[in-house]
């Protein structure tokens, strides 16, 4: 009763709502604050310390961005880059998951393929650009291939590890209950590997966003990477910064999106590895 009386006094209610508001939005407010502060410092440094041509202040960058957004120029490049990332990423994931499951489940396949994979995985997508251009030209195919290349090994290794680490106790418990080999594989091993597969996909997605840029810089006539390269040749630092900011934003948004979808669809499989 005493607690009720205290809580209902107007001053305390106000204090409590403030406190509650802060508690509820703490993460969001700090996030916004962090970005606002960073942009302010950047603005100040570019105006008073650095050469604004080399490091254009954010307000100038936004000013440059507006016509690029209005004309749809930026969206054209974003769409092209995203399409390339999507095709390479999803085809890479699909094939890597199928092969990774086989590698993790059948020992002899793993023994045969593992040495080759161990050697190939050190070849980054960037290292493969020169040969990809010769194989596939500067059309879409070479970009699909490079993103595929970057995605494939990350997802493959994670999937294999996940399948191999499916707890033996869980498999034996299912076996005791009368599960067949196929049932153990489909209903126990694959779901147990899900957190590893998803984690691999998330890392691979970040790497896809990173490797699309060098691919487009060296061999493309469209996409964000091309925008970067083209602006550099024309010494348009403002446009370079617009492209860089776009790229950060894209990576960030898609990672959040990925996490949201996983939380919605796969949360029950993710209990032992948190994605945050």
């Amino acid at each position: 009763m005493a607690a009720d009386t205290i809580a209902s006094s107007p001053l305390d209610t106000q204090l409590e709502t403030k406190e509650a508001f802060w508690q509820r939005h703490r993460a969001g407010l700090l996030f916004v604050a962090s970005i606002v502060i960073a942009f302010s410092i950047w603005q100040a440094l570019s105006t008073f310390v650095f050469n604004p041509f080399l490091i254009p202040p954010p307000l100038i960058v936004f000013e440059t961005a507006v016509p690029m957004i209005m004309s749809g120029e930026i969206f054209k490049h974003v769409a092209i880059s995203l399409a390339r990332v999507s095709v390479g990423f999803f085809s890479g994931c699909l094939i890597a998951i199928v092969l990774g499951v086989l590698l993790g489940w059948i020992k002899v396949v793993n023994d045969l393929l593992d040495p080759v994979i161990e050697l190939l995985r050190y070849l980054s997508p960037t290292a493969m650009i020169p040969i990809a251009v010769i194989w596939f030209g500067i059309g879409e195919m070479s970009k699909y291939f490079l993103i595929f290349w970057g995605t494939f090994f990350i997802v493959l290794i994670n999937t294999t590890a996940g399948v191999m680490r499916a707890p033996i106790i869980r498999q034996r418990a299912a076996e005791c209950l009368g599960a067949s080999k196929l049932q153990i594989f489909l209903l126990v091993v694959i779901p147990s590997a899900a957190p590893y597969i998803v984690t691999g996909m998330r890392i691979a997605m970040a790497s896809s966003f990173m490797s699309i840029i060098p691919a487009e810089i060296l061999a493309a006539d469209s996409g964000i990477g091309f925008l970067l390269q083209n602006s550099s040749i024309l010494l348009q630092t403002n446009r370079i910064f617009v492209a860089l900011l776009t790229m950060s934003l894209l990576g960030f948004v898609f990672d959040r999106l990925f996490r949201m979808i996983v939380d919605r669809v796969l949360s029950r499989y993710m209990s032992y590895i948190s994605l945050t």
Binding site: R172, E175, C176, L177, G178, S180, L187, V188, P191
Partner: protein, 273 residues
């Protein structure tokens, strides 16, 4: 007054055994790295009997249980379950693990874990609800059927594991230190709970433990195993005291002391060699 009988005979005479372990040896590795884990194990378990395998850590009791379950192969000797030789795991013998979190499927709710057992057992779907109600009711988890294993306490997870095992209607329950990770109070509750289930279902139980008090509380017979290498059953003690047993009672305490001295002797022998 009830008598506690000490005896050295390992095989049941005249009664057909549910489990028959005959001269089982198990050697791991090869040549220089070979390790004789078990040597000359003979054990008969009658239908409906509650047998504890008791021994210090590393004595091979879990290896023996894995062999009975069909997860491990014998190097020599044989194991029969209900008259048929054991070749691999079978749903007549369900293993029950200490780490329930791993043994259960964490992405399925309590009810879905039960359904998983019935699905792999290949029962018609129309029978599922009755069986699920029956066994979840028996272990007192009816109210928690929508929860996931991560939302259950350790004791509740073990009860779910028991319910899931019973749902496939095995003849034998094999339990590998199932309550060792629980706190003392929960463990004691689980003992009463397990004995109650055992009384109602009359399953044959082989229970591995290193806890003397647990063995004396639960078992019809306690098999004391020697320390490896070449571990074998050194003594079998019949415990005929009525349940529930209180270790404070003189007879139970006497059994406890007897078993303790046998076990201590085993460890002394192991340390002196």
């Amino acid at each position: 007054m009830r008598q506690t009988i000490w005896r050295k005979g390992y095989c049941l005479k005249g009664i057909s055994a549910m489990l028959a372990v005959r001269n089982v040896s198990k050697i791991f590795g090869r040549n220089d790295e070979r390790y004789v884990a078990l040597e000359g194990i003979d054990l008969d378990v009658a239908a409906g009997e509650f047998v504890c395998l008791l021994g210090p850590s590393g004595c091979g009791k879990s290896t023996l249980l894995n062999i009975i379950a069909g997860f491990d192969q014998v190097t020599s000797g044989s194991v029969e379950s209900d008259g048929a030789p054991v070749r691999g795991a079978g749903k007549d013998r369900v293993m029950f693990f200490q780490d329930a979190g791993s043994a259960l499927l964490p992405w399925l709710s309590v009810e879905e874990n039960m359904r998983f057992a019935l699905r792999v057992r290949d029962l018609p779907k129309s029978e599922w609800p009755t069986i699920i109600d029956k066994y979840l009711g028996m272990v007192g988890l009816n109210e928690h059927r929508k929860k996931f294993p991560s939302q259950l306490s350790g004791g509740m997870r073990q009860r779910l594991q028991i319910a899931r095992a019973l749902a496939v209607e095995p003849k034998v329950l094999l339990m590998d230190e199932p309550f060792a990770a629980l706190d003392a109070l929960t463990r004691r509750r689980m003992h009463g709970f397990l004995l109650d289930i055992w009384k109602r279902t009359r399953k044959t139980i082989v229970f591995v433990t290193h806890d003397i008090a647990e063995a004396v509380t639960l078992a019809d017979r306690i098999c004391v195993m020697s320390v490896g290498p070449g571990s074998h059953i050194t003594d079998i003690i019949d415990v005929t005291l009525p349940r529930p047993r209180d270790l404070g009672e003189p007879q139970a305490a006497q059994v406890f002391k007897r078993v303790e001295s046998l076990l201590t002797h085993e460890e002394d022998v192991a340390e002196s060699t």
